[in-house]
Each structure stands twice: as structure tokens, then as C-alpha cells.
């Protein structure tokens, strides 16, 4: 071997020793085990945060699709599954505002669904709204629904969400079914997906809704949509409505409704907390795994770090070396975790019909979390460097 072959470069520039890389790749088997441990923690975060994002998607699945700028809700409103009712007259009163173009009463309720063909039972989220002969404007921004509104005019007709879970039976948008033990006709379909809210969803006219739900009075909708003329100041109109309408309704903008929904699903439901805690658990597992690796390594090399201190290396620079090692471990664990997630997520989605996807936001978020997790570990581990006392070297 030539003694200087690796370094004979006339134009070479000052390139510091890749200290962290050298330390990590010196013991490949240990590094592989460490990367596997960290990768597992990151995979846990991927899945948990995937479910968590499904919770967020659940929160906004319906509310973000309302084709209106302002909503009237009951003061008892908790979320779309527990709304309370509002007097329909408030919608007429709202039309007194010059910026308001139309208002629409919306009805919600969970409904037991039964497929008579195979006896499958499940729980769907029913959404009812007026279907007039002269309007093809859907209150929900859903592809293809406007064109099918006329099909909903016959009583007992409904459009079925094609993302309804397979356990509910065939989701082929045709055929007879039973809703709350009453026969119903599936006349078409749409794609929405309601996540954790229910097993699926169906759209129907307010008359059909009333029939299915014990003649629910049409004067008591669960929510009112208020559409404004283009260019209207939404906040200004919302304030005007708050002032003009009695306290038996609450006026919210779409953003405010979405925030209420998110707050409910994230803070008040078990699923939001479980997946939030699951993500935290993955984070902590990663911190502990890497702490064990880094702190053991530092302890084993303590006299060597003390030598660097004697040579004039600062604690800050040694801490940076530990941080660099942690970041490399984070990347080594992240790659395989992402790779596995690309296979696991479709499996989960196929099995549950939950809106769980690998999105760029999720990938970047998990990468940032992984780096934060490993940085936290490194900073705790680096405290051991303070024990590197160069006075002990002589």
C-alpha cells in the first residue's frame, strides 16, 4: 500500500476529520443495531402520527367541505356528531344581511345501516339537506354530488360514500338497503371518507332524513349554512349576525368551525389523545435508545475525550460531535422507517378505510421529530462529557 496515496492531493483544502462519521461507522454491527432501534422508534412515530393525522382528517372531513362562509350552530354544539339544534327561523333572519345570498339548513345524525343482502351492520353518518327542483348546488363540496342531487328527490333515496368501510357490505352505489330498519334506496355515490367519525356516510334530502329519524322537525336543523356574495368581508358579516341574532344560535366562520372540530377530536376524544400519546411514546423510546448508545460510547471513550479537552477542544465542539452522531443515527433510522411505512400505510388504509396517508407534511414532520428526538438524546448524553477530566490523564 502506498503510504500517502489517500492524501496526495495537491489541491486539497482543509477538510476536518469526519469525526462523528468515523465513530459511527467504525463498528458497523453496533451501528446497524442502533439504527434498527431508532428506526423502530421512528416507525412507531410514523404510524402514530399517521393515525393522528387521520384524526385531524376526521375532524375536517365534513366541516371543511361545507360550501359556505358562515355557519349557524347551537350553543350546545360540541362537534358534528353532537350538535344540538337551531331554530330554522334564524336562517331566514340571517338573510336580512345584505351580503347573505342563500342559507341552507343541514341535518346530521348517526344511523344504523343494514345491508339486507348479507345482513352486514354498521353505523353511518347521515347528512340531510333540502333538495329543490330548481337547484343543483350541493351544500358540500364533493365531486359529482351536484349532478346527482335530483336523484335524492324521491323519499328514501340516498347517496352512499364509496369510502364506507367494507364491513357495511357492498358499497356499489345501487340497490336496496335498510336505514334504521326502514328500507332505503342507494341511488348514487360520492367519495368523502369520514375516518373515525363513523363507518361511512350518506347524503339524503331533508325529507328522507326526517322520515328516517322519527319525523325530525325540519324547523330544527342541526346547523345552518350562510353563503355570502363574492367579495364580502366574512368577519364583518359574522359580527353583524352575532349582533343581530338571538343567543340561541352561535355564529362561526368556517375556520372557526374547523377549529372547534379539531379541538374536539384532538383534545376531547380518546383517539386524539391515544395517538398523540403514541407519538410521544415513540419519541421517548427513540430518546432512550439513542441515549443508551451515545452515553455508553462516551463512557467508553471518556479518557479519549479528556485528551481532546487537554488538546484545547471546547466542550461546545465535543457536544457538536455528539450531536452530529445523533443526527447521523436519526437519518440512518429514518430511511428504513420511511421505507417500511410506505408498505404499512396502504395495508392499514386497506384494512380500516381510515384516511391515513404518507404525505410530504408527514414525512417532513417525522424527519424534524426524529432530528429533535436524537438531538434531545445527544444533549442529555453529552452531559457525560463534563466528566472527561484531562487532569486525570497524567
Amino acid at each position: 500500500m502506498s503510504p500517502v496515496s489517500a492524501y496526495d492531493r495537491p489541491t486539497e483544502k482543509a477538510r476536518p476529520v469526519p469525526f462523528a462519521l468515523q465513530l459511527i461507522f467504525h463498528k458497523k454491527s453496533r451501528t446497524a443495531v442502533a439504527a434498527a432501534g431508532i428506526g423502530f422508534a421512528i416507525l412507531v412515530m410514523f404510524v402514530q402520527l399517521g393515525f393522528y393525522s387521520a384524526v385531524l382528517n376526521t375532524a375536517l372531513a365534513v366541516s371543511a367541505r361545507f360550501d359556505a362562509e358562515i355557519m349557524l350552530i347551537s350553543p350546545r354544539f360540541a362537534y358534528l356528531g353532537a350538535t344540538g339544534t337551531i331554530p330554522a327561523g334564524r336562517l331566514y333572519q340571517a338573510q336580512a344581511q345584505p351580503e347573505v345570498t342563500t342559507t341552507t339548513p343541514i341535518f346530521f345524525r348517526y344511523a344504523d345501516w343494514r345491508d339486507p343482502a348479507n345482513g352486514a351492520n354498521c353505523r353511518l353518518f347521515a347528512i340531510g339537506f333540502p333538495v329543490s327542483a330548481d337547484s343543483d348546488i350541493s351544500p358540500l363540496r364533493l365531486k359529482g354530488v351536484s349532478a346527482q342531487l335530483k336523484k335524492l328527490r324521491p323519499t328514501n333515496s340516498l347517496l352512499l360514500d364509496e369510502m364506507t368501510r367494507s364491513k357495511c357490505g357492498p358499497v356499489d352505489p345501487s340497490g336496496s338497503t335498510e336505514v334504521r330498519n326502514l328500507s332505503a334506496q342507494v341511488v348514487g355515490g360520492f367519495k368523502m371518507g369520514v375516518g373515525f367519525l363513523a363507518d361511512g356516510a350518506m347524503l339524503m334530502s331533508d325529507d328522507t332524513f326526517s322520515r328516517f329519524f322519527g319525523n325530525h322537525p325540519l324547523e330544527e336543523p342541526h346547523l345552518g349554512l350562510v353563503r355570502l356574495a363574492p367579495g364580502s368581508d366574512v368577519d364583518e358579516v359574522a359580527d353583524a349576525l352575532r349582533t343581530s341574532l338571538p343567543r340561541d344560535v352561535r355564529v362561526v366562520t368556517q375556520d372557526e368551525l374547523n377549529a372547534l372540530q379539531t379541538q374536539h377530536w384532538v383534545e376531547n376524544t380518546a383517539v386524539g389523545n391515544i395517538f398523540g400519546m403514541g407519538t410521544l411514546a415513540g419519541f421517548l423510546v427513540g430518546v432512550v435508545v439513542l441515549f443508551q448508545i451515545l452515553s455508553t460510547d462516551i463512557r467508553n471513550h471518556l479518557p479519549l475525550y479528556a485528551t481532546l479537552r487537554a488538546m484545547g477542544y471546547s466542550k461546545k465542539r465535543l457536544t457538536r460531535y455528539v450531536l452530529e452522531q445523533a443526527w447521523i443515527y436519526a437519518l440512518l433510522g429514518f430511511g428504513p422507517a420511511l421505507f417500511v411505512s410506505l408498505f404499512v400505510f396502504p395495508l392499514i388504509q386497506g384494512a380500516t378505510n381510515l384516511p391515513i396517508f404518507i404525505t410530504p407534511v408527514l414525512v417532513v414532520g417525522i424527519l424534524c421529530l426524529s432530528l429533535a428526538m436524537c438531538s434531545a438524546s445527544a444533549l442529555v448524553s453529552a452531559r457525560r462529557l463534563h466528566r472527561a477530566d484531562p487532569a486525570e490523564l497524567f
Binding site: Y7, E12, K13, Q22, L23, R309, G312, A391, F394
Partner: protein, 234 residues
């Protein structure tokens, strides 16, 4: 007034040091006064427990001086902290009894860890590393890691690491203990050249009588006190 008294590399006056405090305190250095000029090669001897290593660690700012004056290469070592302390240590070359090489680093990289602290064109630093390792008989082993080197070779890598950045002051603790006669002579010649040609002050602690004749001064410490200080050129 002699040149070394005007601007000494190491100036100790009334230096005392004790481990512990109160009734359990153990005094290891007593009122040491000593001055070494730039370019002097001094060997410090003495029986085990005489305070040689403690003195070395005080001069290297690895311990905090307690009483007496301690000035080295223009720095008052009392209260030296933070970046100033690190800057001082960067001007020194430490050779410890144990080589303390990272198993993951090659011989070249181990030595480069010292030059990395001193910004300069990479080619120059790398040339100097190559030249030094070659002079120490490691030209063929620059890509080797510690486990591929013998004990003596590892010690020579550690010596190269201590000297490559042309320190103003070299502090060595039994640097030749792991070396055979031939390599001992190479290392001693290297230290002597550094001292006499570059003005580096060398303070070496050793019990190895083979090396005494290389030194300009022989300092003997007994029970924490300066027993003798002989200039061999006198």
C-alpha cells in the same frame, strides 16, 4: 539578567499544591520556584509521589493553581477559563503515558485532530502530518487504526499528534516508556530539534535514564520540593 529570566516560557514562583481540603488535605508541592527559557529541553525526575505529574498538569492548565505564581508562554494560569484556557492548551503539546487514540481514527486522522484546531491550508497541514509520521517511522501505516498498530507505534502516533501543530510548549509524561531504543532516540532527537531549532520548550517527566543526556536541564523533585536543578551545558 539572563534571557530566560526576562521572558521565560515557564515561570513558577512559590508554587504549592494540595489535594483535598481541611484536615484531609495532602500537600504534594511545596514552594516550587522554577524558570524555563524558550527552547529549553528539561527533564524532570524524582521518585514516585514526588509531585512531578502534578506539576506537569499545573503547567498544562489541567489543574487550577492554588497558591504561588504560575506564568507560561505569556499566560497567567491563575483564573484561566473558557476560550482563553482552550486557546492556551492549543499552544501546548501533551504526550501522555497512555496513547489515548480513538479506535475509529486512522493514524493520519488522529494526528489531524490536532491540526484541525489550527486553521491553515489543508495541503500544508497534511504535508506536515505526512512528514512527521514518516519521520517517526509510520509512513507506511498512516491509514492504520490503533488496533492494527503495536504499542510503540501507537505511542508514536500520539507523539506526532502532540507535536504536529508546532506547540510552544511540550509537556511529556514518560513518552519513551513504550518505545525501543531506536525509536526512543528518534523521538528524543525530534524533541531536541523542536527545542533547539523552533524554540519549543520541552518539559519531560521520565525515569528512563537513557534519555537524560538529551536534556539541557535535569530537574529533580523529591517529596514535592525542588531537590536539584542542573544545567547540563553548565
Amino acid at each position: 539578567m539572563t534571557p530566560d529570566s526576562q521572558n521565560p516560557a515557564i515561570a513558577l514562583e512559590g508554587l504549592s499544591y494540595a489535594f483535598g481540603a481541611g484536615e484531609t488535605a495532602k500537600q504534594v508541592l511545596f514552594d516550587i520556584s522554577l524558570s524555563l527559557a524558550p527552547g529549553e529541553f528539561a527533564i524532570m525526575t524524582g521518585p514516585s509521589g514526588s509531585g512531578k505529574t502534578t506539576l506537569l498538569s499545573l503547567v498544562g492548565a489541567l489543574r487550577r493553581p492554588q497558591s504561588g505564581k504560575l506564568n507560561c508562554i505569556g499566560h497567567d494560569l491563575h483564573g484561566l477559563e473558557g476560550a482563553e484556557l482552550e486557546g492556551y492548551r492549543q499552544q501546548l503539546g501533551f504526550i501522555f503515558q497512555l496513547h489515548n487514540l480513538f479506535p475509529a481514527l486512522t493514524a493520519f486522522q488522529s494526528v489531524q485532530m490536532a491540526t484541525d484546531l489550527h486553521p491553515e491550508p489543508g495541503a500544508e497541514a497534511n504535508d506536515r502530518i505526512r512528514a512527521l509520521l514518516t519521520r517517526l517511522g509510520l509512513g507506511e501505516r498512516m491509514d492504520y487504526r490503533p488496533h492494527q498498530l503495536s504499542g510503540g507505534q501507537r505511542q508514536r502516533v500520539a507523539i506526532a499528534r502532540a507535536l504536529v501543530h508546532r506547540p510552544a510548549l511540550v509537556l511529556a509524561d514518560e513518552p519513551t516508556a513504550a518505545l525501543d531504543s531506536e525509536n526512543t532516540q528518534i523521538v528524543l532527537q525530534l524533541l531536541a530539534d523542536l527545542a533547539h531549532e523552533r524554540g519549543t520548550t520541552v518539559l519531560m517527566v521520565t525515569q528512563d535514564s537513557r534519555v537524560f543526556e538529551s536534556a539541557d536541564r535535569l530537574i529533580n523533585l523529591v517529596d514535592g520540593r525542588l531537590d536539584s536543578d542542573v544545567r547540563r551545558t553548565d
